[in-house]
Every structure is written in C-alpha cells, then in structure tokens.
C-alpha cells in the first residue's frame, strides 16, 4: 500500500522539553486515529505533519513531498487539510467568507472557489448558517466551520486535531461518516482522546504516551489488548488502559 505519511525518527523539542521522541510512523489510505492522554504529543505530531512546525531532528515525507524543500512544501500544502486544536477565527466574517478565505489561501483555482466553499459548508451541515457571522455561532458550529475549511480543497491528506470536541451526538455521527468517506480515497489522521471515535471511524489506531508511539494496530487489536483488564467501560477503553499501563510500568 502507498504510504502518504512517513515520519522517520522525528523528534521535536521546545526549549529543553522533548515533546516528540524518535517517532516513526507510516500511514496509507484510510482513517488513522491518534489516541493518547493529554500531553502525550498528539497535537505536536499533527502540527509537525501539517508543516506548522519543523521537526528538531528526523525526516518527513508527506504525500511523496519533502517539506524541507520550499517548492515541495508548497505543493504539499495545496493538498493538505488541517484543523488545529484551537480554531482562531474572524468574528465579523460570515461562515462563507471564512471558508472562502482558506480556499483562496490554499490556491483553489478562482473559478472553483465559490462552488467548493458551498460544497464544504453543505457537507458539514451548515447550509442554513452560511451567511451568519462567525461570532453568532455556537462552539459546535465553529468546530464544523473548522472542518469545512479543512476539506474545502478536497485534500489528499486531512489532519484533524480533536475534531469532535464540542459536537453533539448527531453531529458526531455525521462527522464520522464524512471522514469515513474521505478515508476511502485519501488519508485522514484524527487526533482524539475519545476512544468511541476510534471504534466508529478508524481503520487503524496508534496510541501515544510521553512523546512516543506505544501501540499501533487496528481497533480490534486494541480491544484484544484489553481482555482481562478491569479499568474501562468498553472493550476499547479497557484496551487503551491496558496499553497505557503496560507502557508506563
């Protein structure tokens, strides 16, 4: 299978703190879940893959491009969709204007911008709020606008950091279906601490702790690791707990 994301021995330091420690990761087509407790390094790994920050050491290959080369980085960024953990927005922009802004920055061809924006807004179920100002939206709606800007350029690599935070159960179901659709054609990497998201939408999962990847497999593999482990309300939670306990012992 073609690997769209390859990270080799990637380390990232902020001052003296090493947040990512020699991460090796290869991800192909499908929905890849990144699980882990707060501070495990999930967000830093996603920011690194999104080229928002540079690795301190190690190398990356993203959709076949080397992000160290400015020309290749730009080519990669055209094909990237990224939803950061905290979505900053312009309060006086309408939903349409906000998504359009990122379609323009991603260099979607001019003639395609408006239909692409309308399609992205429809896909996140915000058609009835397209002309509303961002400042009038609820937290869950703003999260959906964030998802719309991430998918507006039909990305080949979609990186989503805590995408379901603030979504109600109905929206969460809609969202999972959306990323499954993307995962059929492209690569989706979703960071979350909600194990039910992983069970419902992911084809593969990695568990991070202390800046490294301590488990990688299918959701079924993770469930299997939880057999006999007492802590957790679902098989996935028990697997999560068992792997973490094993990594920390």
């Amino acid at each position: 299978m073609e690997m769209n994301v390859r990270a080799a021995e990637v380390t990232r330091r902020f001052g003296r703190t090493e947040v990512l420690k020699n991460v090796n990761l290869s991800v192909g087509r499908g929905v890849f879940g990144l699980l882990g407790p707060n501070g495990a390094g999930k967000t830093t790994l996603l920011r690194t893959l999104a080229t928002a920050i540079e690795p301190s050491t190690g190398s990356l290959s993203l959709l076949g491009f080397d992000p160290k080369d400015p020309g290749e980085r730009r080519a990669f960024r055209r094909r990237l969709g990224y939803l950061p953990q905290t979505l900053g927005y312009y309060p006086n922009f309408t939903v349409f204007e906000f998504v359009e802004y990122f379609a323009l920055l991603k260099e979607v061809p001019n003639k395609d911008v408006k239909p692409a924006v309308a399609r992205a807004i429809e896909r996140v179920g915000l058609g009835d709020r397209a002309k509303s100002k961002m400042k009038t939206l609820s937290g869950g709606m703003i999260r959906r606008v964030g998802i719309a800007q991430a998918i507006v350029n039909e990305p080949e690599l979609l990186l989503l950091d805590e995408p379901t935070a603030g979504l109600d159960p109905e929206q969460r179901v809609l969202f999972r279906s959306l990323i499954r659709d993307f995962g059929e054609r492209d690569t989706v990497v979703v960071s979350t601490h909600l194990v039910e998201d992983v069970g419902a939408a992911c084809t593969e999962v990695a568990l991070m702790d202390g800046g490294g990847i301590v488990f990688r497999g299918t959701p079924e593999d993770l469930k299997a690791r939880g057999e006999g482990h007492a802590i957790g309300d679902s098989p996935l939670e028990r697997g999560y707990g068992a792997v973490l306990a094993g990594a920390r012992s």
Binding site: R74, G88, Y89, F102, E107, A118, I121, K131
Partner: protein, 255 residues
C-alpha cells in the same frame, strides 16, 4: 390527443412513449447536487468591499487581498484610532510647542507593524501558515499597507504642523517606497527573498549616492527635495507590480 396506456407492453412498442422516456432520462441526468451548489454559492457569497477588490486587482491574488483585509492593524477601528491619535498630536503641537505629532508617528507605525502579522495577533495564523500562500508574501503586503497608511496620515498631519514634515519625508515616505520596491521585486521574481534583497540593495545605493553627492550621510532622510523622488518611485513600483501580474498567465507562485 391520443391516449397512451401506462403499461410496460405498450411503452416498449410505442415510439412516442419511448421518446418521452428518453426525455425523462435526460432530465434525470442533470446533476442536481452540482446545480444546487452553484445556486447556493452565488446566494451565499457576499460582494467584497471595494478596497479588497482593488487590492486583489493590484496584487493579482485574491488570497493576498483577503489576507490584507484581515490585517488586525488595518481594521477600521484601528485606522480611526490612529487618525484620532494623530489629530490629537497635531492639535497639541502648536499649543505646547513640543513636536507631539512627530513623536507619535513612529510609535503608531511600530504598533501597526507589530499587530500586522504573527501568532497571538492573527487569530487564524496557525491554519494560515500551513496553506500554500507564502506567509512572507502576506507579511510584505501587510507591511506595505501599514507603512502607506502611516505615510498618508503623516502627510495629512504635515499640512497642519511643520513638525511632522521632516518625519514624514525622512522616515514614513522612504519606508513606504522601500516596501513597495520589495513587493514589486518579489512579484517580478516570484521570490520574497529576492524582493527583500533588491529593496535593501536599492536603499543602500540611495543612501550611498546621496551621501557622496552632498557629503552628508543624513541627506537621504533629511532632504525635502527627495520627497518627489520617493513619491514617483512608489508609483513606479506599484505600476511594476501591476504590469508583472498582468504579464503572467499563471496564477502567482510565491516562494
């Protein structure tokens, strides 16, 4: 009009019914989703304000124009506040005898640049930095716009107090001219680095030539005679940006 029975046997053998069925199938082939998206896009997209439309034409890039429109230090409230502060400086200067307008101008320009670009200032900076549009190009366009605004305010203030003339001529105008040159060179070469290099070299040459002619290093920024030169040069550089954009067929590619 002839009655046609609605039965499979009749439809299969009747030429008229077959023709009607073909029309129905053609109608069903219309991509309703695509049609709706097109209608929705037109209904939802608002008309952008004229400064943004003008900037899009000038810069040849709707992305850069929108990025310019989102500059925190170019919002209307900021511009009004800057104008009010300048006005206060102009009014107080003749009364107090101190050059308040001239003292205020650098602080306003500095604050304008500080609030033009970067994390903590631009709410969507994290996503913006991961897009294909060059962050350095955005910074350059925003810097030019901030300097131009301050130069314009300085020029207006100069009409009322002589204390601002020197500052506007010596600092704000050259700053705007050099920024315009950097943007023009970056646009022509498609390289932000080249733009900055050309601007720095050109400014170095102007200072050297000016110093050699009047044997005074300060002459470049203290001689009012250079004001028309800066104004003309700024206009030429803006025209160059326009020309280079119009001369290229492809969409701008920034590095």
């Amino acid at each position: 009009m002839r009655e046609h029975p609605d039965t499979a046997a009749h439809i299969a053998t009747c030429d008229d019914c077959q023709a009607c069925a073909a029309l129905d199938r053609a109608a069903l082939d219309v991509d309703l989703e695509k049609a709706w998206t097109g209608v929705a896009a037109e209904a939802w997209a608002g008309r952008r304000p004229w400064p943004e439309r003008m900037a899009a034409r000038l810069l040849g890039s709707p992305a850069l124009a929108r990025a310019l429109a989102t500059t925190p230090s170019l919002f209307l409230s900021w511009i009004l506040a800057s104008s009010a502060v300048f006005l206060a400086g102009v009014l107080v200067t003749p009364v107090s005898g101190e050059p308040w307008a001239a003292l205020i101008a650098p602080a306003l320009a500095g604050a304008g640049i500080a609030y033009a670009y970067g994390p903590g200032v631009d709410p969507a900076f994290e996503i913006m930095r991961t897009t294909a549009t060059s962050g350095r190009m955005i910074l350059l366009a925003r810097a030019l716009a901030v300097f131009a605004l301050n130069a314009a305010l300085g020029l207006v203030a100069s009409l009322f107090t002589a204390a601002t003339v020197g500052l506007t001529v010596g600092w704000l105008l050259p700053m705007t001219t050099v920024s315009a040159l950097a943007l023009a060179a970056a646009t022509l070469t498609r390289s932000t680095n080249a733009g900055v290099l050309v601007a720095l070299c050109a400014w170095g040459m102007v200072v050297s030539v000016s110093a050699a002619r009047v044997r005074d290093l300060d002459a470049t920024v203290t001689t009012g005679a250079l004001m028309p030169f800066y104004a003309v040069a700024t206009a030429v550089f803006v025209a160059l940006v326009l020309y280079s954009i119009n001369a290229q067929w492809e969409e701008p590619v920034w590095r």
